[in-house]
């Protein structure tokens, strides 16, 4: 049974003017496999780009291209202005208390590695400030639902420093198991790192609560907002300081921006105390052969020529999201997610991994279909123009927790329509018949 109907186009909560919004994304007009309309349900992997992002990047390359900060000419000034304005846009988008706390990286993975590496290099402080160094007896806490990008850097850190990595487990319905929070977050805990929204289970984590607990024991909190930034309104400045994380990372390509650009926001006092990440141009104050002194934040963490046009593209992307309104985008995602959970629920043998309440989850829905391997599902639905992901979605521990090797994942975004969900449901029914599973 396919849940289509005349009302499906007008679900409450959908973005008004959805058809107009879709026109902003040229790729949504293309066809695949000789004429099938593209049904792109892999936005948690990477989002599609609106024309304004493409045009802004082309315009920058055609008219304003020059290196930033070091070119003393008209184009250099224009390019620097465009690059630094993008930083202002990012700061506004996440409500950063200060724009200089926004560091450009190449993606979320690099942002998370920046934090883990500089913490590994931090020396025990002699005079003022908190001691950021991590050593034997210290604990770093992560969770079983992290993307590999927020597990491996912390494994490397704790292995190098002789510290211990511990993690929150998961409940059967795909939430963090907080029953042992007081054993995990103790005076030995130096860092608590977790994802805001799970890329596999869709779960939205209680960031403020966990941050308050971590801050109470003096631990730093690092949040992977790769899946949150695209769909949740974020306003760091309005969070109570004890509930505001110390670091927030996200990646540009999931927020309708280009690849090659990511963001690390960090609290000024911590960023100032951390040693530099990479050495090179731009990150210095002065260089002598014996030793150098470093630039202030953010440039201290941005060695070398940055991804300029990518940052400019990200600025355009976040401006675009701002115009649509993050509250409206969030409502749209919830409406589509609710509709998708209903539709998937009609398919025999299909099990959703993660919370079933759309109000408490993001737009990535992983599922299993009894009797068909995720690869085979993705292949068959692709033959009908439907793009979903199959595999472990870079979250092997979370899959292991649920006793599965891999899963299929559909992920919607601001341009997804109910009709596209209908098409997925129909393609999954077709998959069942293709593999001759009983009616």
């Amino acid at each position: 049974m396919v849940a289509t109907g005349p009302t499906s186009g007008r679900l409450p909560g959908l973005l008004p003017e959805l058809e107009v919004v879709r026109k902003d994304f040229p790729i949504l007009e293309r066809t695949v496999h000789d004429g099938l309309p593209l049904i792109y349900l892999d936005s948690a992997n990477t989002s599609q780009k609106p024309q304004i992002v493409i045009d802004t990047m082309v315009d920058h390359l055609e008219r304003h291209n020059a290196n930033v900060a070091r070119a003393m000419h008209a184009l250099g000034a224009e390019s620097t202005e465009a690059f630094e304005s993008a930083r202002d846009v990012v700061a506004g988008f996440i409500g950063a208390p200060e724009r200089d706390e926004v560091i450009f990286t190449k993606n979320a993975s690099e942002a998370l590695n920046l934090v883990a590496n500089t913490l590994a290099w931090a020396r025990p402080s002699t005079s003022s400030g908190v001691d950021l160094s991590i050593g034997e007896g210290d604990v770093v806490v992560t969770t079983e639902m992290e993307h590999h990008s927020n597990i491996v850097p912390w494994q490397l850190l704790t292995e190098r420093k002789g510290a211990t990595l511990r993690w929150f487990g998961l409940t059967d319905d795909g939430r963090l198991d907080l029953s042992n929070v007081d054993e995990l977050i103790t005076e030995h805990t130096k860092v608590v790192t977790l994802t805001w929204v799970s890329n596999m289970l869709g779960t939205i984590n209680p960031i403020a609560d966990i941050t308050r607990k971590a801050h109470a024991v003096g631990a730093l909190v690092v949040v992977d907002a790769s899946q949150a930034a695209p769909q949740l309104p974020i306003d760091l400045a309005s969070m109570a300081p004890e509930e505001r994380p110390d670091f927030v990372a996200f990646t540009g390509h999931k927020t309708v921006g280009p690849t090659g650009i990511g963001v690390l926001w960090g609290r000024r006092e911590v960023l100032e105390q951390l040693p530099p990440f990479l050495g090179g141009g731009e990150m210095i104050e002065t260089v002598r052969m014996e030793r150098s002194t470093y630039a202030g934040i953010p440039h201290k963490f941005e060695a070398g020529t940055p991804p300029i046009v990518e940052a400019v593209g990200l600025g355009a992307a976040l401006t675009y999201l701002g115009h649509l309104g993050m509250d409206a985008i969030h409502a749209h995602e919830q409406a589509i997610t609710r509709y998708a959970l209903e539709g998937l629920g009609t398919i025999k043998g299909l099990t959703v991994l993660g919370p079933l309440d759309a109000a408490q989850r993001g737009g990535a829905i992983s599922f299993e279909l009894e009797g068909v391997h995720p690869h085979d599902i993705a292949q068959v639905v692709d033959s009908r123009g439907v793009a979903i992901r199959a595999g472990h979605h870079c979250a092997k521990p979370a899959h292991a927790r649920f006793g599965v090797q891999s899963s299929s994942r559909m992920s919607s975004y601001l341009y997804t329509t109910p009709a596209e969900i209908d098409a997925l449901v129909e393609a999954l029914e077709y998959t069942r018949s293709y593999f001759r599973l009983d009616g």
Binding site: H33, H373, H375, Q379, S383, A390, H392, K396, H399, Q405
Partner: protein, 155 residues
């Protein structure tokens, strides 16, 4: 060719049969080498054992989790190599590799590859070639290790 025809070319009846009723599945003794191979992009895994005696592949046993293509290909592999001399089995391996890496342009020889010719359609889907080759690569690795082990014993 239409998408549907491509899809049907990949999911041949023979492949689906091997998937549903795999041959020689399970881990058995004796063996000289056991390997564990993983397809890192999708997480498919195979544990595979090889037992050689007097230059002949006496047994290949395996335990695998993965898609229909990777499971069926492990089943076909064991049918093709068990009972052959190592040299002949390596020749079959080379032919299967050529077929899979041929992007759909290689005409398979049924006399050599038997049920393996059904994988010709998979060669057109670059993302799936790795699935088809997972157990074959594991077998080659395990066989090389078995040969090394027996080589040192004989010395």
């Amino acid at each position: 060719m239409s998408t549907q025809a491509d899809l049907d070319a990949m999911y041949q009846e023979i492949i689906l049969d091997h998937y549903k009723h795999p041959h020689h599945k399970g881990l058995r003794d004796p063996f000289e080498a056991e390997v564990h191979h993983v397809n890192p992009t999708c997480g498919d895994e195979v544990t595979l054992r090889v037992h050689l005696a007097d230059g002949v592949v006496e047994d290949v046993s395996y335990d695998a989790v993965g898609c229909s293509i990777s499971q069926a290909s492990a089943s076909v592999l064991t049918d093709l190599v068990i009972g052959k001399s190592v040299d002949d089995a390596m020749a079959v391996h080379a032919d299967f590799l050529t077929l899979m890496q041929g992007k759909g342009t290689v005409e398979p020889d049924e006399d050599v590859l038997e049920d393996g010719i059904a994988f010709a359609g998979v060669a057109k889907f670059p993302a799936r070639v790795k699935c088809a080759l997972l157990s074959w690569m594991a077998w080659k690795d395990a066989t090389a290790q078995s040969l090394d082990a027996s080589g040192t014993e004989e010395k």
